[in-house]
């Protein structure tokens, strides 16, 4: 759903902890932003000590609690490396909440099915928390260190099914395998919500399409301004006249799987 307002604020880091592997959890105090956040929205963060690079970095909003919200990220590049060294009390500048998030299921809807790859779990947490009906979350990763937030989802009363490619945790294989098994049992009227790498989203989209199911996919694209002006983060989206490039930061990051064009003519 499209959130209400968006604010730019310089906010203090309250807690910053290492999770498994190269993953980190960071919480900031942002009292006038937190009430605005919808599941699946993101924060565009200016890492103030980062002087060698100009741009903000987008992060899914993970948890919201009172005056604070948190992100869950992996240190992968120069921006997140510098971020990972920041301490509580230091400040970040954030523009949030941004983007069109997930449609929160309504009471009486079928049990929702969530599919996450790695830190894609972060983008799905608020959806799980706010969904009136508890469902199943399928989470996959390369190895056990990539499986995050399992306890948090279980604490919400959700069933968590884990897969790892190397078999170091849960079932060995891809996240789509237990999903397909579950859908073999029952797929009519059920809806998928997914966040993770593009390959996984594409597979989830195809699974939904084959069964005539609805699916919402949170697309992870390279982003620049985050607010809809630069047209960096575009993906091809179906229109009545064919397709057009739409912005992940404005029309997304969450798209109806049926609208996404996975291959375009050159």
């Amino acid at each position: 759903m499209l959130g209400g307002g968006v604010l730019e604020r310089t906010v203090p880091i309250l807690t910053h902890e290492r999770d498994t592997g190269g993953y980190f959890r960071l919480a900031v105090r942002a009292p006038d932003i937190t009430p605005l956040v919808q599941p699946g929205q993101f924060a565009h963060v200016r890492i103030l000590p980062l002087k060698s690079a100009l741009l903000r970095r987008p992060f899914s909003i993970f948890q919201v609690a009172g005056e604070t919200f948190s992100i869950l990220y992996k240190a992968v590049g120069q921006g997140t490396e510098v971020l990972s060294r920041m301490r509580p009390g230091e400040e970040l500048n954030v523009i949030a909440p941004l983007g069109r998030g997930f449609t929160v299921p309504r009471a009486g809807d079928s049990r929702p099915l969530l599919v996450a790859g790695g830190y894609g779990m972060a983008a799905l947490y608020l959806l799980a928390q706010r969904a009136p009906e508890k469902g199943i979350v399928f989470v996959g990763g390369r190895r056990r260190q990539d499986i995050l937030c399992v306890d948090e989802f279980r604490a919400l009363g959700w069933e968590v099914r884990i897969t790892t490619e190397d078999g170091s945790l849960g079932e060995p294989g891809l996240v789509t395998q237990p999903l397909v098994e579950e859908l073999r049992r029952e797929s009519a009227g059920r809806k998928l919500f997914a966040c993770g790498p593009t390959g996984m989203l594409r597979a989830v989209g195809r699974i939904a399409e084959e069964r005539g199911m609805a699916a919402e996919l949170s697309m992870d694209e390279h982003m620049c301004c985050g607010v809809g002006v630069c047209l960096t983060c575009v993906i091809p989206v179906k229109t009545s006249a064919g397709w057009e490039y739409q912005r992940t930061c404005m029309e997304g990051p969450v798209f109806d799987a049926r609208q996404v064009v996975w291959e375009t003519d050159p």
Binding site: L55, H222, C224, V229, L231, T232, C233, V234, Y245
Partner: protein
Amino acid sequence: MNLAVQIGKLTLQNPVMVASGTFGYGVEYARLIDLNRLGAVVVKGIRLGPVRGNPPPRTVEVTSGLINAIGLQGPGVDGFIEKYWPFLQGLKVPTIINIWGTTVDEYAEVARRFDALGGVGALELNVSCPNIKEGGSQFGTDCKLLAEVVAACRRATTLPLITKLSPNVVNIAPYARAAEEAGSDALAIMNSYPALAIDLETRRPKLANVTGGLTGPCIKPIALKLVWDAAKAVRIPIIGMGGIQSAADALEFLVVGATAVAVGTANFYEPQTALEVIAGMREFLQRKGIEDVREWTGSLRA
């Protein structure tokens, strides 16, 4: 203190605008800043029909800069008027519309359409985009074609015309003079500089378009030199841009001869930049005891 400046018959309440392509159609940033405090809003380049734009990846961050190859994605004249003009028309500050085409006639037709619309502040002729196959910089790097485009638009409209020049020329002076002589009311200097970034591991270019245009703080010294050169060659006002992220940067453009400035890439990472530039400019001039920003323009001791 007076910060107001004149671009042709257009008066700006202050000399700080935003650069085309870095500010969408205004409405996006209205959520974060008060647009009515800007000198002017300059919208993304528009041609007659809708433009799909280049495939992604479209931008890449480099040291102190950004390379982009968006490919002028846009809704075309009709789409723009329907979707964005009602909002822009409600602003108290002028809207400058950046226009382009693939032929001289298309430029003139787009100019005519916006002339007929009424309420437009000025037209900025984009003859310098490096990321499209036809149009754009082919007109800006050939003096004769440049003069033709400007003259055709001049015949098509009475709106102030700003010609946005390419930095990709040996000497900018003849281009500046060609635009002036063909009837341009002002110059915008500069557009992005052609550039390339590669991924060593994959041996692939980082942009799908292979090359793009470099912008951001790293191009500021190049832009300053071009403004300085052009200011000596023409009498019409110059809007300076290229890597401005502070009042000090903006004041440097003014001191070498720019009448106004535009904040570009900085909008992407700090939407407050233009407003901070205006406040900082006022403070600086006050400290220097200068009553009118126009006294600062072109006052370089060289």
